[in-house]
């Protein structure tokens, strides 16, 4: 597959001003609400430090805590599975379902199952899969991946949703009231929840000492997915482990405040054992995590608690839309995680950033996101994944800028300036600069020449 051209996709998104403005304003509101929520917690920065330390401790003793979790969960009557990669994970899920003749599955939002492409895998094998998170269900009906890890359909306006529901459910497309739209969804999805043979959720946290998995939702859909059917499957990425129940307090205080500015969500649900007469399976999934843990510069991205604060604050994400990244995880955190899955396909992503550093400073677990973006650029260059035009421009720039004589020739003549300077000052694409901006005019006299004339 060719590399995702985020810049091109973003340009198309911006063309459609309605959606670009809608997304920018909605997400900036989330950022503002996050700021307000954080300002009401005087120890906010200490909490971030603590959360970062707990995650780094856990990740550097991961085998220990994973085994502790496994034995605690087993003691609670849960069946624990281990999956090395996405195909293994999907096969385990399918096996559990098919062994019990379960042909319908309800699931709550899980980025891990997006990453594993679990839904299409199961659907291709005759299992009806229903997403129960409103935003995720909207995306499922529209046959689109999520564009944001907290609000999967936040790029859509209410009118978009009204149109979609009119097409799929025959509702009134003139009615764009969110309450009406939520009602349409509820009426159409609730029966599927009641009939489902199995339920599936992800996990926000998995507590090693208790064997509990914790989900954080607003709609209560994870509880329905977990509790209505007798058969319950929970997929957990290895990095979701935290040592103790009391550590949870640190993360719960940070998670929703960082995500939406709410002090807490409607439902913070702890699942420890199967319901009466039911079955509970937990699948611990690696899928590249342990190899990332071995990457000196990039392992800290495993601290992520999926709050999406980095996306909300990212000025590039807000104006590009999440789908432009062509990836499961998008925005700043996606830029540093996706190349660990496929360095070629996501080779352009590290360049979709101004390195402004806002992401790093909102991150509740203090991932050095923009430093990792910078580091990925070097890796892409070393892996020869840099765009050839850009590489060529940098070779020219490197030659001119390391040679005072060549540099002076380039800089001194206005005429030459126009031809040569943009190569390194503006990176060899005069047209690209000039598409939406006027080109800076070279001065009649450089500073260098002025200095020679007036000071030496």
């Amino acid at each position: 597959m060719s590399a995702v051209d985020q810049a091109k996709n973003a340009a198309a998104f911006i063309e459609d001003r309605t959606h670009e403005q809608h997304l920018d304003q909605l997400l900036w509101m989330m950022r503002t609400r996050r700021d307000e929520a954080a300002s009401r917690v005087p120890e906010w920065e200490q909490l971030r430090d603590l959360a970062s330390q707990i995650k780094e401790h856990t990740l550097s003793h991961l085998a220990h805590y994973l085994e502790m979790f496994e034995s605690s969960a087993k003691a609670n009557g849960v069946t624990v599975h281990w999956a090395q990669d996405a195909p293994e994970h999907n096969q385990i899920v399918y096996q559990i379902l098919s062994d019990r003749n379960a042909d319908s599955l309800i699931k709550s939002k899980s980025m891990l199952t997006e990453e594993c492409e679990t839904r299409p895998f199961l659907e291709a094998r005759g299992i009806r899969v229903t997403e129960t998170d409103l935003g995720e269900r909207i995306q499922q009906l529209d046959n689109q991946p999520p564009s944001h890890i907290v609000g999967p359909s936040w790029h859509k306006t209410t009118q978009d949703v009204a149109n979609l529901f009119a097409r799929v459910y025959g509702s009134d497309k003139e009615k764009t009231d969110p309450v009406y739209l939520a009602h349409v969804m509820r009426v159409n999805t609730r029966p599927l929840i009641e009939q489902a043979k199995a339920g599936m959720t992800g996990a926000n946290f998995a507590v090693a000492e208790t064997g509990a998995v914790v989900t954080v939702t607003n709609e209560g859909n994870a509880d329905l997915s977990a509790n209505v059917p007798e058969l319950r499957i929970c997929s957990v990425g290895l990095e979701k482990i935290i040592p103790r129940n009391e550590d949870l307090a640190v993360f719960i205080r940070l998670l929703t405040r960082s995500a939406t500015g709410n002090s807490i969500t409607q439902y913070t649900s702890h699942f420890r054992s199967p319901r009466k007469n039911g079955e509970m399976h937990i699948i611990l999934v690696d899928n590249g995590r342990s190899s990332r843990l071995g990457m000196e510069k990039f392992w800290r991205s495993l601290k992520c608690i999926r709050c999406a604060a980095c996306m909300n604050t990212c000025p590039v994400y807000r104006r590009s839309g999440g789908l432009s990244y062509g990836s499961t995880y998008m925005g700043p955190i996606g830029i540093i995680m996706m190349p660990t899955f496929d360095a070629h396909r996501y080779s352009e992503l590290p360049f979709s950033s101004t390195l402004n550093g806002s992401c790093t400073n909102v991150c509740p677990v203090k991932i050095d996101i923009h430093e990792q973006i910078y580091a990925w650029r070097e890796v892409m260059e070393e892996k020869h994944q840099i765009n050839l035009v850009k590489k060529e421009a940098m070779i020219v720039a490197g030659k001119v800028l390391s040679n005072p004589l060549l540099y002076r020739i380039a800089a001194d003549s206005t005429e030459t300036s126009l031809k040569v300077l943009p190569r390194f000052a503006l990176y060899n694409h005069l047209n690209a600069w000039g598409r939406h901006r006027d080109i800076p005019q070279p001065a009649k006299e450089t500073f260098h020449d002025w200095y020679k004339k007036h000071r030496s």
Binding site: E296, T313, S352, S353, G398, R437, W450
Partner: protein, 277 residues
């Protein structure tokens, strides 16, 4: 890969991260090497002149190394460390004999202080990283200048502080860290200019969209960010956008001209030096 990078990073001394290194305050007649970024040399020489004149007014002995070109940032920022190496070597050759390097650019300072690693570690490389100051830092922290009696600027000013200056150098508090004390070194200097009036605008420390090569590789997003910044500033009624980073202004000026906006642009050195009005 890991080892190569490790060698590079180990050379940046901890004192060189975040806040500027310490020199004795109120030093007079100290010698300073002036680094003029390539885009200022070519497009905005008047900013270089204002920087030089102001340093001279403050009785600083300014040396301008003639063979200087660039700090290496354009290549390094693009991941091209091999291509950046010779330029960084040249920088060391031109500047390592000085104890203090001043440049009117937050982003060049950030590169030289925190990202100067395309060239292998050496005492000279460390010295560069430990000796470089953004012009504002130098005035505010080293010389501790608190008055500019020659400057007069009766205009409404929108102060734009670059991401490199805020989050890279710590020259001002950032909006993300809501509980930290609020401060701004460039503002503190500008406040001493007679007649100046500051305006507030929305999202003051959101990136303007320049981002080095980003401004060309991702031109649509870069321009939209610039347009949005200009719109927030337009609503504030500012006559001038003043910044300590000319690269942001180059981008914003390009956007403004395309939009037909009549806001004007000045580097902070021009205002502090007493610009012709």
């Amino acid at each position: 890969m890991a080892t190569k990078r490790q060698t590079r990073q180990s050379g940046v001394p901890s004192v060189a991260r975040g806040v500027g290194p310490t020199l004795s305050p109120r030093a007079t007649l100290m010698q300073v090497a002036l680094m003029i970024p390539c885009y200022i040399d070519m497009f905005y020489p008047e900013v270089g002149v204002a920087t030089l004149e102001l340093l001279e007014k403050l009785k600083v002995d300014v040396v301008y190394p003639f063979d200087q070109t660039c700090c290496g940032q354009p290549m390094a920022n693009s991941g091209c460390f091999e291509e950046a190496q010779a330029t960084e070597e040249l920088f060391i050759k031109n500047f390592s004999r000085f104890d203090c390097i001043v440049t009117p650019s937050g982003s060049c300072t950030h590169h030289l202080r925190n990202k100067f690693t395309a060239v292998p570690d050496s005492p000279e490389r460390r010295k560069i990283s430990a000796s470089v100051y953004d012009f504002v830092e130098f005035l505010h922290d080293v010389l501790q200048v608190r008055e500019f009696p020659w400057a007069n600027f009766k205009h409404k000013v929108a102060l734009h502080t670059s991401c490199s200056a805020i989050r890279g150098l710590g020259m001002a508090s950032m909006s993300e860290r809501v509980n930290d004390p609020k401060f701004s070194k460039p503002k503190k200097l500008l406040e001493q200019v007679a007649g100046i009036q500051f305006v507030d605008f929305e999202r003051p420390d959101e990136c303007c969209g320049f981002g080095g090569t980003f401004s060309v590789t991702e031109e649509a997003v870069a321009a939209k960010m610039g347009y949005d910044k200009l719109e927030f500033i337009r609503k504030s009624g500012a006559d001038y956008i003043v910044s300590s980073d000319m690269s942001c202004l180059m981008h914003l000026q390009g956007c403004a001209r395309r939009l037909g906006a009549n806001v004007k642009f000045l580097h902070i050195a021009q205002v502090l030096n007493g610009v012709a009005q």
